[in-house]
């Protein structure tokens, strides 16, 4: 047993978090900033933060993750990090020549109270920022919220770059939230099918799922361009996907540039994708092409074909709020039973939302925000499930409890494909179901006796 010290009996913990279902803000800010074309993320803190975030993102994507750090020493921690950040800005523009630097803070620089806008002003006054280049940033104190909050804060900082010319440009902004580069690609494909011109940020497609060609570009072709981000203030409307990831940025666009917004669930699964497509066609004033309706039909077909294997199966879910809300709705809609749902990200709203989605279910649902995977494991010990859906760390629980695992979320450190194959939209829904079905039926094939083992399933 790998987690042999986890007892079945649940005792209340007030101070000790064990096996977290979240990490800290800065990594989310770094991920978001990688989705801006020509932008180098910068971590304003001691260098270990940057090293850890880069390592984790590298392991998740198997791609180079470039990001710089202010490399605080004890001196900087006492006297403030301004000198370090000014020096960093100068060095970065001289050596790496990015279009922009996206600075996020850390618990260290937040605790000592470094003021980013003031340091940026100084950098500009001291001519450390070359003509036409951009420095922007977000406060991302690690002791507030989670990695999701950090992502949201950095996207909000992007939205704050938007300008309004007073003329609408007919485009629609899509704020995709923290999804995979493959998902962002899929959202663009769907918008293209519907015939709507969009601006999406961040956009990590083409950045974190690049080819091997013998050439290394520190700043690949992908990413949302700064000019598009600036022009997003002229858009007809904004579709913000995921309350936790994208709502703040959408509200910023609304209040700064009067771009109206709809906050939608992330389009995982049938119903959430329906709502996304419907919103997209309404705001863009176009009709949905037959091709996309056919994709929808394929997903419905798959659900009906294989319903017998999904029906009544119990699921444990762990991940980030926006993803879990959409996934819970999807699972309920195909008659699976999400019985344990945990996110590490705080927010009572999450618990309410999951409860509402599972209200019609006949069983008791365990749900917790600001929870951890130790508690999830204890829930599973008390009420076993047929499948676990979550990140790579779930494999320890899955092995101990001999329960199938579908890897979905962040980080995935031991399998690949997430950066290439989307799980959003109808085609993404098909992939999710294929994965869930695969582990359930592999398990059935393993467990069936020789007498009941069957060729056709």
């Amino acid at each position: 047993m790998l987690l042999k010290h986890t007892p079945e009996e649940i005792t209340e913990r007030k101070a000790l978090m064990i096996n977290p279902a979240k990490t800290c803000q800065p990594i989310g800010a770094m991920y978001a900033a990688l989705g801006v074309k020509g932008c180098l993320p910068h971590s304003h803190g001691s260098q270990g933060c940057c090293a850890y975030h880069r390592s984790t993102l590298t392991r998740h994507y198997k791609e180079p993750i470039s990001a710089a750090t202010s490399s605080f020493t004890e001196g900087a921690s006492v006297f403030g990090g301004q000198a370090n950040l000014l020096q960093a800005i100068n060095n970065i523009f001289t050596v790496y020549e990015p279009e922009a630097i996206a600075v996020h803070t850390t618990c260290l620089s937040e605790t000592i109270g470094d003021d980013l806008p003031q340091i940026f002003d100084k950098a500009i006054k001291e001519k450390k920022v070359p003509e036409g280049k951009t420095v922007f940033g977000a406060p991302t104190p690690s002791y507030v919220g989670s990695h999701v909050t950090g992502f949201s804060n950095m996207v909000k900082a992007m939205a704050a770059l938007a300008e309004s010319s007073g003329k609408r440009n007919g485009k629609v902004n899509i704020l995709p939230g923290w999804v995979e580069p493959s998902d962002m690609e899929e959202l663009k494909r769907m918008a293209d099918m519907i015939g709507i011109e969009i601006t999406m940020y961040p956009d990590t497609s083409g950045v974190l799922n690049g080819p091997l060609t013998g050439k290394y570009d520190m700043f690949p072709e992908g990413g949302a361009s700064l000019s598009d981000i600036k022009e997003s203030g002229d858009a007809t409307g904004t579709l913000a996907l995921g309350e936790w990831c994208s709502a703040e940025a959408a509200r910023t666009l609304d209040s700064r540039c009067k771009v109206p917004c709809s906050i939608l669930d992330m389009p995982f699964g049938l119903a959430a994708t329906d709502r996304f497509v419907d919103a997209l066609r309404t705001v863009g004033g176009t009709s949905v092409p037959e091709e996309l309706s056919r994709e929808r039909g394929k997903l419905v077909d798959f659900i009906s074909d294989m319903h017998q294997y999904f029906y009544g199966k119990k699921v444990a879910l762990v991940g980030d709020p926006d993803q879990l809300i959409a996934m819970t709705e999807f699972l309920v809609s195909i008659d699976m039973c999400p019985v344990h749902v945990i996110t590490g990200t705080p927010g009572k709203k999450f618990e309410k939302k999951i409860k509402a989605l599972t209200e019609s279910q006949e069983y008791e649902v365990n749900v917790k925000a600001a929870g951890d995977m130790f508690l999830l494991h204890q829930w599973i010990k008390n009420d076993p499930v047929d499948v676990i859906i979550g990140n790579t760390y779930c494999k320890y629980i899955a092995r101990d409890e001999d329960t199938p695992l579908v890897r979905w979320g962040f980080p995935i450190l031991d399998r690949q494909g997430h950066q290439h194959f989307p799980t959003v939209g109808y085609m993404g829904g098909l992939r999710l179901l294929e994965k869930i079905l695969g582990v359930l039926l592999d398990r059935k094939d393993r467990d069936d006796s020789e007498m009941t083992f069957e060729l056709v399933l």
Binding site: M1, C24, Q47, A51, S55, S71, E74, V144, F374
Partner: protein, 545 residues
């Protein structure tokens, strides 16, 4: 890349100039001192600047003090609860990512390695102080797990807000009575790299654990293995060999280690140092306090492993052990030799670059040599000057402000437990035969003349070096891996290996030869251009014409 393209002529001084040319003047001046052309000089080795601050904005390979302390040194210990006091991230990132294996998985043994524990500090804790929460978290960990020991690690904000983690640890230790609680002031901003964290960890383990075991170890040939972290099972392979030779490994610092191993380390008769950088402090303290001499060993490389075993046997001086060691080497070597023979035609003449750690960039050169490969450039990520130039320069080391911040503990011979393992005459007799105690000559003397040694290599320089010198293989860490591979150069991660191992000892050497053969000869490096990119001209002929 074809052989013909490989014949790149480069002058090391040109390469150095090219590495520096794009830097702002201040950065160039600083980096120039950390890039050294290895040259033989009369009576001295050229000096390199190391263990100095990283330059803000220059994308470094380095991590922080916390990573060195919690991640590297304490992480691999199975039966101590590691509790991180801070916001969640630090605990999350150091959770199982170093690939330290442990044998404590089965029934019985306690194993907390798969658990990440944190006080998950919130803004209210930053404002009002986190001591109460830490105290409560220690209590909850104790109530849940009843471990022998709880180690508390400080993260950046803890030092800034002034939480006294040592006082809390002491209070809880006194309260429990049957659980040792101790703390590490390893805030990420201390020092200039992971190295400071190793030092802090060494000091606390030595202060709170070593010498506290009530059980007496009575085996005949007892050693400590210091600076071995059981990545990918390296420590398992070394233990297999030692056991086969009849040598008892009392304590590994800290691969696959347990509380009791640390506590018993004072009972060994010899300390064998693998990673000089991370653990030489403990070796010195074990000698001063308990009278245990130390030697440098290296179990990376088959020849180096054999040499290290012979060195251990020579120390004990018993014919029985000396003969047994020879038997073991004779038994192990044929398989090693067979693998070398098989890969050699494919690896001979290939070139490698190594930029890792504080010892690894040196140790792994042994394995490359055995495969006929040349190391054309190397350097450490967080080493000090003595790791490059040898321990003889230690008296000349300048102690700067960043090093002064790291606690130095003063150790005296223990009134009860100090016991010289050999008489002065015995030591002298061994030394007269050329036996070296407390000796490490560093990386530089083992590298060819005119090779380029770079301290704290960064992403920009790595890319430049690869572009200019076109090595067949590059070795560094996970963050560097894919930018190098995008250039079409295979990259082996030598911190936690990514996958595979063990690479230590005899079986490890065999694994390594095969792994490097796989990497440098993989067909994939030939797939990067599509046929139409290789041959863009349009041709109107059809094959079936």
């Amino acid at each position: 890349m074809g052989k013909s393209e490989k014949l790149v002529q480069w002058d090391p001084y040109d390469v150095k100039e090219k590495l520096l040319e794009k830097y702002p003047p201040k950065v160039a001046r600083k980096r120039a001192k950390q890039i050294m052309i290895n040259e033989a000089q009369e009576n001295s080795t050229p000096e390199i600047v190391a263990n100095v601050r990283t330059i803000p904005g220059i994308i470094t390979m380095r991590g922080c003090t916390y990573a060195g302390c919690k991640g590297v040194i304490m992480g691999p210990t199975s039966d101590i609860v590691n509790l991180v006091h801070g916001p969640i991230g630090c605990s999350f990132y150091a959770w199982l990512t170093r690939r330290n294996q442990t044998s404590a998985n089965g029934e019985g043994g306690e194993n907390f390695v798969p658990y990440a524990m944190s006080t998950d500090m919130q803004d209210s804790d930053i404002i009002f102080g986190g001591e109460k929460k830490l105290e409560a978290a220690i209590q909850e960990a104790y109530d849940l797990f009843h471990p022998k020991g709880i180690a508390v690690f400080a993260t950046c904000p803890v030092g800034l807000i002034g939480d006294d983690i040592h006082a809390v640890a002491k209070k809880m230790k006194d309260k429990f009575g049957d659980c040792n609680v101790f703390a590490f002031s390893c805030e990420g901003y201390k020092g200039v790299s992971q190295s400071a964290g190793h030092h802090i960890a060494n000091n606390q383990v030595f202060t709170h654990l070593v010498g506290t075991s009530p059980t007496e170890k009575t085996d005949k040939y007892k050693i400590n293995l210091l600076g071995e972290y059981n990545i990918g099972g390296d420590g398992f392979e070394i233990d297999r060999i030692l056991e086969k030779c009849g040598i008892t490994n009392i304590a590994t610092f800290s691969g696959n280690s347990t509380y009791d191993q640390f506590a018993s380390a004072n009972q060994a008769d010899l300390s064998c140092v693998m990673c000089h950088r991370s653990i030489n402090y403990v070796a010195d303290m074990l000698e001063t306090k308990y009278g245990i001499p130390w030697i440098k060993v290296n179990f990376i490389g088959a020849e180096a492993s054999a040499k290290s075993l012979r060195k251990i046997a020579e120390y004990f001086g018993d014919k029985e052990l000396i003969d047994r060691v020879e038997e073991v080497i004779t038994e192990e070597m044929p398989a090693v030799k067979a693998t070398i023979d098989s890969v050699f035609p494919r690896t001979e003449g290939k070139t490698a670059m190594l930029f890792v750690g504080g010892s690894r960039a040196h140790h792994y050169q042994e394995l490359f040599k055995e495969m006929g490969m040349t190391t054309i450039s190397a350097g450490y990520e967080f080493a000090h000057r003595d790791d490059y130039e040898g321990r003889h320069i230690i008296p000349d080391l300048k102690v700067d402000a960043d090093s002064r911040n790291i606690e130095e503990i003063h150790v005296e011979p223990d009134p009860e437990l100090f016991r010289p393992r050999k008489t002065e005459e015995e030591i002298k007799a061994l030394e007269d035969q050329g036996y070296e105690f407390k000796s490490y000559e560093g990386l530089n003397p083992d590298m060819d003349e005119k090779t380029i040694v770079v301290d704290d290599l960064n992403q920009y320089e790595a890319e430049k070096l690869v572009e200019l010198m076109k090595p067949d293989l590059f070795c560094a860490g996970i963050k560097e891996k894919y930018s190098i591979q995008k250039l079409g150069i295979p990259m082996k991660q030598l911190h936690s290996y990514d996958s595979g191992g063990p690479y230590a000892g005899f079986k490890g050497a065999i694994n390594f030869y095969n792994e490097i053969d796989r990497l440098v000869n993989s067909k994939v490096w030939g797939f990067m251009k599509a046929p139409w990119q290789e041959n863009p001209e349009l041709s109107a002929t059809y094959v079936w014409e």
